[in-house]
């Protein structure tokens, strides 16, 4: 049997060859090459989650009605603006479904219970479920549970639900391709050298004078 040999990696490779290797990385890394172009966030996201794939996603946790509610709620928590699309468009419902499938337990119960409460409360107040309520009615409900300090004591458990759900939407959005561009997180890009802290940031931190002195 031929003994197994370790590859010697970057050893003795010219810089050009190393850069070629860097771009030959499979899977998600393809995005890093595309990112330097002038594509919009929407186009970039489309490269990663094609509409067909998103449409064909089968939720592992949520039933069809919950699934619609999760879409609506995600979009209300992080809507689109001039800088980026909404959490729903960025694939957050799929993230939440997958995440809850991984975690299960109390978190899953809290989320499902909270989604059920939204419908119960809307039915009681408006005679329809949450997704069928008007934008104004949805706001009325969310305003009650989205601001922990102002919330009524009897809404405590729903406030806890909404804190968890907000965390899932925020974390799911800002770890998506769209959200990363929105922050913006500018790393995960191989650099030929490390430049340190850029002058405009030093200036804003009031450290420019000290750094140029030293």
């Amino acid at each position: 049997m031929e003994p197994k040999k370790l590859l010697s990696r970057g050893a003795h490779l010219p810089r050009r060859e190393i850069l070629r290797l860097m771009t030959a990385i499979p899977a998600g890394a393809l995005f890093s090459a595309a990112r330097s172009t002038t594509a919009t966030p929407k186009e970039l996201a489309a490269e990663l989650i094609s509409p067909e794939v998103a449409a064909s996603y089968q939720p592992k946790i949520f039933n069809p009605h919950e699934w619609k509610t999760v879409h609506t709620l995600s979009g209300l928590i992080i809507p689109a603006d001039e800088r980026s699309e909404s959490a729903t468009a960025a694939g957050v419902p799929e993230f939440i479904d997958d995440w809850l499938d991984l975690q299960r337990g109390d978190l899953l119960a809290t989320i499902r219970g909270g989604l059920a409460w939204l419908d119960i409360e809307c039915n009681r107040l408006f005679g329809t479920d949450f997704i069928a309520s008007t934008a104004g009615q949805q706001e009325q409900i969310l305003d009650r549970i989205a601001y922990p300090k102002n919330a009524a004591p009897e809404d405590t458990s729903v406030v806890a639900f909404f804190n968890h759900f907000r965390d899932l939407v925020v974390s799911g959005f800002f770890t998506s391709a769209t959200g990363i561009k929105d922050l913006p997180y500018l790393g995960n890009e191989p650099q030929s050298d490390w430049q340190g802290c850029p002058a405009p940031v030093l200036a804003k931190l009031g450290l420019l004078a000290e750094r140029t002195k030293s």
């Binding site: 003994p3 050893a11 003795h12």
Partner: protein, 568 residues
């Protein structure tokens, strides 16, 4: 098929384990002309192919979050973890211990933090300084030439500071500080805490054919281009090139074999793929299976001559296991909000750190604990955003939803910093491992039972960490958002959580109180050596890997010299 295969080849040296210690033994001994066989209990791993370098979280399962199969997250190069299916361990009741095992070629050197700090002169003679613990049988001067050689071989960046008990080394230039690191350095200046370039085994210049870092903060994924240190890339590649090293993976060593003359004659291992036992024979045996695994192997190597286990006439095998004291604080720094966007990745670790600064106070007995710690810190905009990002935002934004929330999150991003203490644990009689005679693993090998207790010094140190880190956050104009108080024992970590377990087969000057002599050679068995963290007599706050490498180099040179003179 036969149940037992006796391998026909005889080797000069059999090395058990392929991490820092085993890799260094293979590097030195294969280069010295010895025919070496390396046995690794884990699977083949080659970062040039297997690293998840540059992949994005959104393309990964669960955005890369930790799962039972990947306890350090999907991107970490680690294969293994605190729990391995079919390979249990037990803890004595009321004792809390986590035992991390990497089961892969290169062991923990693939995913480690690359922090490479020399032990200082005090760290080898702690008992002489404060009357606690034990002195090493060697001094800083014995190891200093090996630290030099290791740093020149693997590449360590750092700066010359001349600080007490934090010896400078053969450094590559350090990378410039990140923005948040400068802010903290300034705060530390006000408090009289040194904040200096860190010392990491990452190349900032080309070295020995390896290219320099490309600054994507992903060392834990292991570098595809070998710009940081791992045993396979830096030690095993050149060792294989000599033609003197054979590597067998999936080889779980169960016992060191002993001949009628009382010398080690070889080892017996289970081939995990076929579940067959294989015996191989060699003139010298080097154990580098990781501290506790090496102790386990010795305790399980019972024979007529050595009924208490091999190298254990002193009864010291398994004793004085140590980990590192950890405690964390998290802060929010408003001045980091709304900064112009910038890439803060840098190397896969901190560019600045705070070495221990209170030796003088301690020598005047002005602190309620005896040993030191250093501070590691991170946060800001470093690293690919991971699940959990901006969790608990309602605490800082008052809650909400909609465009206001979206804007608020953008503002918060990059303004959190976390501070981690890494402190010295004094060895104690209540922290040790032994064979649990009632439990075997799936290979039929009796498992370890752990006993572990932090001492009062460690708890008081954790309190000092908490108070100091909170002071730093406030001095930088920040707000402490996560900390620990007395009811949580000041946030002290669980034993083994830091993955710095060392000791268990300690070296010494006296064969009655140590298992190994000052060259890490078993007192009871001349051709048996230990080259991992097990020989450690104390566990300074300095992360153990650099010292394991230096000690293994020294031990391997001693073996090569003795073999040359036919003295073993």
């Amino acid at each position: 098929m036969p149940q037992l295969i006796v391998s026909p080849d005889a080797y000069d040296v059999i090395i058990v384990g392929s991490g820092a210690g085993g890799g260094m033994a293979a590097y030195v001994l294969a280069n010295a002309g010895a025919k070496c066989l390396m046995l690794e209990a884990g699977s083949w791993f080659d970062a040039a192919r297997d690293s998840k370098w540059l992949e994005w979280g959104y393309g990964a399962p669960h955005r890369g979050a930790p799962t039972p199969e990947h306890p350090l997250g999907y991107f970490s190069a680690t294969v293994g973890g605190w729990e391995i299916e079919g390979e249990p361990y037990t803890s004595a009741s009321g004792n809390d211990w986590m035992w991390f095992r990497s089961r892969m070629l290169g062991g923990r050197t693939n995913a480690w933090g690359r922090i490479s700090l020399r032990n200082g002169p005090y760290d080898f003679k702690p008992y002489s300084r404060d009357g606690k613990g034990f002195d090493w049988p060697i001094s800083y001067d014995d190891l200093a030439p090996y630290y030099d050689k290791v740093e020149e071989l693997i590449g360590v960046f750092g700066s010359h500071e001349g600080l007490e008990n934090c010896p400078d080394g053969k450094f590559l230039p350090p990378p410039g500080p990140r923005c948040y690191e400068l802010l903290i350095q300034k705060a530390c200046g006000k408090l009289g805490i040194p904040c200096v370039p860190s010392r990491l085994a990452i190349l900032t210049r080309p070295l020995n054919g390896r290219p320099p870092c490309h600054y994507v903060a992903q060392c834990s994924r292991c570098c595809r281009l070998s710009s940081n240190f791992s045993s396979p890339a830096v030690l095993l590649v050149p060792a294989q090139a000599t033609g003197n090293l054979e590597i067998r993976c999936d080889a779980m060593v169960r016992e060191v074999l002993v001949g009628p003359d009382g010398r080690a004659s070889g080892v017996s291992y289970i081939d995990k793929k076929t579940r067959q036992e294989v015996q191989v024979h060699g003139k010298v045996i080097v154990l580098a299976a990781s501290a506790c695994e090496t102790a386990r192997l010795l305790l399980n190597s019972r024979s007529r001559q050595f009924p208490k286990g091999l190298a254990n006439s002193s009864g010291m095998v398994g004793k004085y296991v140590m980990d590192t004291v950890m405690s964390d604080v998290k802060g929010l720094l408003p001045s980091l909000m709304d900064l112009p966007p910038h890439n803060e990745d840098g190397v896969g670790g901190m560019h600045l750190y705070m070495p221990w600064w209170n030796y003088e106070k301690q020598s005047r007995h002005e602190l309620p604990f005896s040993r030191g710690y250093h501070i590691e810190f991170g946060g800001g905009r470093r690293g690919v955003p991971e699940p959990g990002l901006l969790s608990g935002s309602q605490r800082f934004l008052g809650g909400g939803y909609g465009l206001g929330l979206k804007q608020g999150c953008r503002k918060l991003y990059g303004s959190f910093l976390d501070f981690h203490g890494r402190g010295e644990m004094i060895p104690n009689d209540e922290s040790y491992c032994e064979i649990d005679s009632g439990v075997v693993d799936q290979w039929g090998i009796p498992v370890l039972k752990f006993h572990f207790k932090w001492g009062e010094d460690e708890i008081r140190m954790a309190r000092h960490m908490q108070e100091t880190f909170q002071e730093i956050v406030r001095a930088a104009g920040g707000e402490v958002v996560q900390s620990a108080g007395p009811e949580e024992r000041w946030g002290i970590s669980r034993g083994g959580e830091c993955i710095h377990e060392v000791g268990g087969v300690r070296m010494g000057n006296d064969r009655r109180t140590s298992a190994l002599n000052p060259y890490c050679q078993a007192w009871d068995c001349k051709n048996l050596f230990v080259a991992d963290g097990a020989p450690f007599v104390s566990n300074a706050d300095k992360n153990p890997t650099l010292t394991i490498l230096a000690l293994a180099w020294r031990t391997s040179e001693y073996i090569a010299d003795k073999v040359r003179k036919q003295n073993i």
